[in-house]
């Protein structure tokens, strides 16, 4: 089995994550928060750009930069995860069906509403004929793509795989989701967000890259079995809770944050607990932003102050575990190591 290294990590989010060399985070507020748009023209030709919805733009730009940073022209696979897919164009086409009573429709928004549009546009732009797949499984969409990529690098002799997660806010459906969360006293408290985070996985070891040790997803886990599952996952990778320097958690303020409290009890006091959705918002592929943070922390050996929130900085940051879930289901563990 080959080892799997992350050669680049690029994120478009509600933070200045795309441009800045060193990450400074600020808390976001509001019902829904848009991602900060980079200068797309540097990555996408104006002709093509005009027709692209937000998610496609974010995905193509983040993917391009991730490939550039890893010095790769064409990856051996393009794997994308998206929870809500191309919701902007979906809403556009659906609303024109409703408004015009199934008449005078044009195909553009329908064509672009397909869930695999981002992966397809990346392939088209690169003229990349390699394996191309899109995962659409709620809060495990990105994780499924990452798992496929890891499988390819570790078990199937694949050299370079482009993996990403992308979701856009859209303009209507998101309001209904927000409304239902706000009606529920135990609902999600952080804003609903959007973003695209892309990574190049590779079998090649290089200087100052992060190793992706493993990932495990579970459709359902009881809170009582969570600690055992975490410990079993770590021991599968020959690690114990005290070897984890940083635990990155997906808290979003809803009542299911209990799972994160329970998870952190499996680790000693010295383990630094971080949560990130107050910076990027909650969305089905928000955990890809979490992975981006994990990579940045291991590479820079620094945790941004706003993320650390007065906890003591550690001198050496070697191993990070990410844990995410959504509404008590779709659990994922991701294990990273500095190398």
């Amino acid at each position: 089995m080959n080892s799997c290294y992350i050669h680049s990590a690029v994120s478009i989010s509600a933070q200045n994550s795309f441009e800045l060399e060193f990450l400074e985070l600020f808390e976001i507020s509001g019902k829904n928060v848009e991602a900060i748009a980079p200068n797309y023209k540097e990555y996408i030709s104006p002709m093509v750009l005009r027709r692209m919805a937000t998610g496609v733009k974010m995905g193509v730009a983040a993917a391009s930069k991730a490939l550039q940073n890893a010095n790769i022209d064409k990856p051996n696979a393009i794997l994308t995860g998206t929870g809500m897919g191309c919701i902007e164009d979906t809403e556009k086409f659906l609303n024109s069906i409703i408004a015009n009573d199934e008449e005078f429709l044009t195909p553009t928004s329908f064509i672009q509403s397909t869930h695999n549009t981002v992966g397809a546009q990346i392939a088209l732009g690169l003229q990349c004929k390699a394996y191309n797949n899109t995962y659409v499984h709620g809060a495990l969409s990105f994780e499924s793509a990452l798992l496929d990529g890891l499988l390819m690098v570790q078990n199937e002799e694949t050299k370079n795989v482009l993996v990403g997660g992308v979701d856009e806010l859209g303009t209507e459906f998101v309001d209904y989701v927000r409304m239902l969360e706000d009606q529920n006293p135990n609902g999600i408290k952080v804003p609903i967000g959007e973003g695209a985070s892309f990574f190049v996985l590779s079998s090649e070891k290089k200087h100052n890259v992060v190793e992706l040790l493993g990932i495990k997803t579970s459709s359902k886990l009881s809170i009582h079995s969570l600690q055992n599952e975490l410990i079993a996952f770590l021991s599968h990778h020959h690690l114990k809770p005290d070897s984890i320097d940083v635990l990155i958690l997906g808290n979003n303020g809803d009542s299911f944050d209990d799972y994160y409290d329970e998870a952190s009890k499996a680790f000693p006091q010295e383990t630094i607990n971080l949560s990130y959705k107050q910076f990027c918002g909650e969305f089905y592929t928000a955990s890809a932003f979490g992975l981006f943070l994990g990579c940045e922390i291991l590479k820079s050996q620094q945790i941004p102050e706003t993320l650390l929130q007065h906890k003591a900085q550690k001198t050496s940051l070697k191993t990070i575990l990410l844990y995410n879930q959504f509404k008590g289901r779709d659990h994922s563990f991701i294990l990273l190591r500095q190398c």
């Binding site: 051996n76 897919g85 195909p107 199937e156």
Partner: protein, 404 residues
């Protein structure tokens, strides 16, 4: 694509169960009988209110949502979309057909495919969501993973569960991932397939592309006018070789390949490059020569573009003599994300029955290619079946099923 040739110790992938619901039957046996009697399921729209009704033909499942809910014994206040209902019927049948019991002793995975997820409910209730409480349960059922979660929960599958959506090749990619999870030793058992319900969204979408036929579709015919949409669900139980001792193995999944045409968001390239590469990869993985293929279950949507492009790719792979090939979309309509699973089940049945399914409604060869599909039921020795599924975004997938 996985290069697993180096991995000599890879496990074989056995198919131990199949389940299906489609326009030609609500059960495996009904589907088998329709295929054996060349009985198409394509007709008028009855389940959906659409202005396009008089201008299209579709392959509908002949059960209403209420009938499906009754059959599945679901509580009245359920928020199952039709996508989830169809999926659960077929997945339950696959489990029953294989005789497995899903419990903690062996981790069972579940990989499903869908194109528009819960759209069949969203398109009815979208404007009621803000004000009508009783409709709000369908907000959370919109996303594409919802039907998969519901089916996994109903089957008692709690571990590895995911959903794939690459338009019309989705289920083929779900089956391929399942096979790779087994060959790499990640799982010993996984249920794979796909489900898609008809929706106004999809009907109007394909209408704007002007690729819907107003009559029954005629795949690979010179005068083909476009496709008939369909709805269906099908699942296969995949198990590693060592799980299948003393078990009835229906067939083996021996080859799989995916490639991207990288030509256009919706159209296929003239040379069928993506399709060619996908078939080539699948043959490599299966370690078969093209002449080992006895039957090709083609993508064959009956659109002018697909059938020409696929014919070019078939010619490039097989040359002369062309093996028997047919499109069973003339029976079921194009069931989009489910198509790869429907046609996987039909491929397994072709191996079981040693029969080539007919390409219905064929009259005239396409002038450019001169290829003639097998248009009547044909019994012969079949060892290997190759099945194609191609989707928007240039997504091309091929699966190979073998008797071994």
């Amino acid at each position: 694509m996985p290069n697993i040739e180096k991995n000599k110790a890879r496990k074989g992938v056995a198919i131990t169960g199949i389940g299906i619901i489609s326009a030609i039957g609500n059960t495996l046996e009904e589907n088998r009988i329709s295929l054996l009697s060349s009985q198409s399921g394509i007709g008028d729209v009855t389940q959906i209110k659409t202005k396009q009704a008089s201008q299209i033909k579709v392959g509908e499942v002949k059960l209403t949502n209420d009938e499906l809910i009754d059959q599945l014994n679901l509580p009245k206040d359920n928020n199952f979309t039709r996508t989830a209902l169809l999926g659960l019927v077929a997945a339950k049948e696959a489990v029953k057909n294989s005789g497995i019991s899903i419990d903690a002793s062996i981790e069972t995975g579940f990989i499903s495919a869908t194109s528009v997820g819960g759209m069949d409910k969203t398109e009815i209730h979208l404007k009621d969501f803000p004000s009508k409480r009783e409709t709000q349960k369908y907000v959370s059922s919109h996303h594409a993973g919802d039907s998969t979660q519901k089916i996994a929960d109903a089957l008692g599958i709690n571990g590895f569960v995911t959903t794939i959506s690459t338009a019309c090749s989705s289920a083929a990619n779900a089956i391929m991932l399942g096979a790779r999870m087994i060959t790499s030793g990640q799982l010993d058992r996984v249920i794979v397939g796909g489900t898609d319900a008809l929706s106004k969204f999809t009907i109007n979408g394909f209408k704007t592309l002007m690729i819907l036929s107003d009559d029954v579709c005629t795949p690979f015919d010179e005068d083909r006018k476009g496709l008939n949409l369909g709805e269906a669900a099908a699942y296969l139980v995949l198990e590693s070789d060592e799980m299948t001792k003393n078990k009835n193995v229906l067939a083996y999944l021996t080859g799989y390949g995916n490639a991207n045409d990288a030509f256009h968001q919706t159209a296929s390239s003239e040379t069928g490059e993506g399709a060619f590469l996908a078939m080539q990869k699948a043959l490599q993985i299966a370690d078969l020569k093209s002449s080992d293929i006895n039957y090709v279950n083609a993508h064959g949507t009956a659109t002018p573009n697909n059938d020409l492009s696929e014919s070019m790719a078939l010619t490039r792979i097989f040359g002369e003599p062309m093996p028997d090939f047919s499109s069973t979309k003339s029976f079921t309509g194009h069931t989009l994300a489910a198509a790869g699973a429907i046609e996987a089940v039909f491929s397994v049945m072709a191996l079981q029955e040693q029969t080539v399914w007919p390409n219905l409604n064929f009259r005239t060869k396409i002038e450019e290619t001169g290829l003639e599909p097998t248009s009547v039921l044909k019994t012969k020795n079949i060892q290997n079946v190759l099945s194609n599924s191609f989707g928007f975004g240039g997504n091309c997938s091929t699966l190979i099923f073998s008797k071994r």
